[in-house]
Amino acid sequence: MRTGTGTRSWPAPRWLVVALPYAWLLAFFLLPFLIVLRIALSDTARALPPYAPHWTGWAEAWSFLQALDLESFATLVGDSLYLDAYLSSLRIAATATLIALLIAFPLAYAMASAPRRWQPALLILVILPFWTSFLIRVYAWMAILRPEGVLDALLRGLGLIEEPLALMNTETAVLIGMVYSYLPFMVLPIYTSLERLDRSLLEAAADLGATPVRRFVSIVIPLARPGIYAGCFLVFVPAIGEFVIPDLLGGPETLMIGKVLWTEFFSNRDWPLASAVAILLLLILAVPLLAYQRFARKEAA
């Protein structure tokens, strides 16, 4: 019951508001992470689940801890396959991010420059692909890219090529799939930052003698920077751990860490090694993310 101006109508302690998201992160991020870390520190075993040691109670806690080791991480470092896979994933994800940026920026710029009443429709067009299953869209790319597929037929019909393009099961196909799938994540944040850009700033720059190129370089790009960074992270982070696209569109020589992880887990049933791969991937992603956050804080200050 509200009795006066000074009393709260609902005694919602401030700590609860803060605690809820932390509880969520604890339950669904930190706890699973610790479980994965614990598996990564175990050894493979012919057991169910296929690793050892198992937790048998506080009495044997010491022997349990003694049985943990860094063997899986040693394998990751020792076998060049894993390093190659990480580097190759980084390279493919970075390339896909760059291509997506080059396509998305003009797209977002055109959207933000379009008459205001068209903009909602253009936004819907960008997110329209999400209404179809991701998997189906990747399958569609298989139909387009496969030998004698839609693309080959089209280009041959136009007389542009004689021989079929051998795109399917190549790194190019993986890049096409990734750029296609993640493009909206690049377009939306860039569009948002461009849409907020005050047009009178461009007029002021023109008035002060800046050519169209100079206006773009010294006004548009700096003010769109937060959107560009956000878009790059939204594309780069999922792309680096991507499994479905390299699996379906890539070939045997397409080495990506997501696929390696899958192989270790399901084909080799080496859960500890698969867990170690996952943990290292997480660390690789966490470092640039933290760096970005630091940067964003500094920018805001």
Partner: protein, 383 residues
């Protein structure tokens, strides 16, 4: 009555009156349409070197469009715009020797005050030291020394306005364009800044073209005012001409308070005109060639040119009886509304200057009074 007092302005700067003077900016029959709307309609106007010119009008009258055409953000559909004799057609904004202070200031949020002011100078390929020197000079001019490192969001409204001004002046434009330069400032700051801008303009000797909807601002600052109405200029003139000799009813009503008595010309004897209005027969002394009895005409009267008396005045002037209807005390003067006798019962605004702190004959609501004004006080409006 002691009406012949100080107050009128004797201006020495009046190149528009000199037929030999060469205008710096000329709008020649300029027309601009947006779809079905004609923003500027066959407009001709000359600005002279060193003139402070104000475009005054309500929103949508075309004043901003006219200024944006000079800056190059809009192109006229017909007519031409000349600057120092050169036709500006086809010259993009970044190549025009004009600079603009934007209404929102349009300071670049990601740049420091220094970089904002230096922005225009850097486009000219000036040496680094020359740029730094010019920026320092501009900061001193707008009294913002020591603010070079600040970001726009760390500045107050008045400081932003100064940075915008410094940025626009840095490139030494031939004409400075000001879009509602004081619109975003509060009243006290606006008055201060107003006089600073005037001093600055006199010091630099630059041609200023200002857009404003605020008549006080235009009257106080400008050498000449163009009062605009629906894409056309209703009247161009010095502030006192606009106020004391409005060309038509639109100007008379837009600038300042005014009472209008509609009527019919009763007689014309030389410069003495009598108008028969529902409020009585009114006399005014104004040369008006071609005016004949029977024509429709109005007498327009500014509130401060009327006296309120408690007894019937004698003498040759105009008079009308009525009662006090409303009193608004404003400090420097009191705005009194008097309801005239007769069927029409027209309300007349009278401004009483409060020249003494106390008066022996205070007025009150419903008092019977007489209004009195000179034969020279009224303005004849035809039609």
């Amino acid at each position: 009555m002691g009406r012949k007092s100080l107050g009128n302005i004797r201006r020495s700067f009046a190149p528009w009156a000199d037929p030999a003077a060469i205008p710096q900016v000329r709008f020649e029959s300029v027309t601009k349409r947006f779809g079905d709307i004609t923003a500027v309609s066959d407009l001709t106007l000359s600005l002279y070197p060193g003139e402070f010119h104000a475009l005054l009008g309500p929103s949508g009258c075309g004043k901003t469009t006219l200024m944006r055409m000079l800056a190059g953000f809009e192109a006229p559909d017909s007519g031409r715009i000349l600057l120092d004799g050169q036709d500006l057609a086809g010259i993009p904004p970044h190549l025009r020797p004009t600079n603009m202070m934007f209404q929102s200031y349009a300071l670049f949020p990601h740049m420091s005050v220094f970089d904002n002011i230096a922005f225009g100078l850097r486009q000219g390929g000036l040496a680094r030291e020359a740029i730094a020197a010019r920026v320092a000079e501009m900061l001193a001019l707008v009294k913002l020394d020591g603010f070079a490192g600040r970001r726009p969001d760390q500045l107050s409204g008045g400081q932003k306005q100064r940075v915008a001004l410094a940025r626009a002046l840095a490139r030494q434009p031939k004409v400075l364009l000001l879009d509602e330069p004081l619109g975003a400032l509060d009243k006290k700051l606006r008055e201060e800044t107003q006089y600073e801008l005037m001093d600055l303009q006199a010091e630099l000797g630059l041609t200023f073209l200002m857009v404003t909807h605020d008549q006080d601002e235009a009257m106080a600052m400008a050498d000449r005012i163009s009062v605009m109405e629906r894409g056309r200029i209703a009247q161009v003139g010095a502030p006192e001409e606009i106020y004391e000799m409005p060309a038509n009813r639109y100007v008379a009503e837009f600038v300042g308070d005014i009472n209008i008595f509609e009527g019919i010309v009763a007689s014309v004897e030389g410069e003495v005109i009598r108008i028969d209005s529902p409020a009585g027969l009114m006399v005014l002394d104004d040369p008006s060639p071609g005016l004949a009895p029977g024509q429709k005409a109005s007498l327009a009267l500014r509130p401060e040119k009327i006296d309120i008396l408690t007894v019937e005045p004698d003498g040759p002037g105009n008079k009308a009886a009525g009662e006090i209807w409303d009193i608004g005390y404003l400090g420097d003067f009191t705005m009194v509304q008097v309801k005239l006798d007769g069927e029409a019962g027209q309300l007349v605004k009278v401004a009483l200057p409060n020249r003494s702190r106390k008066t022996e004959t205070p007025i009150a609501w419903d008092d019977r009074v007489w209004l009195s004004w000179d034969v020279e006080a009224g303005i004849l409006l035809r039609g």
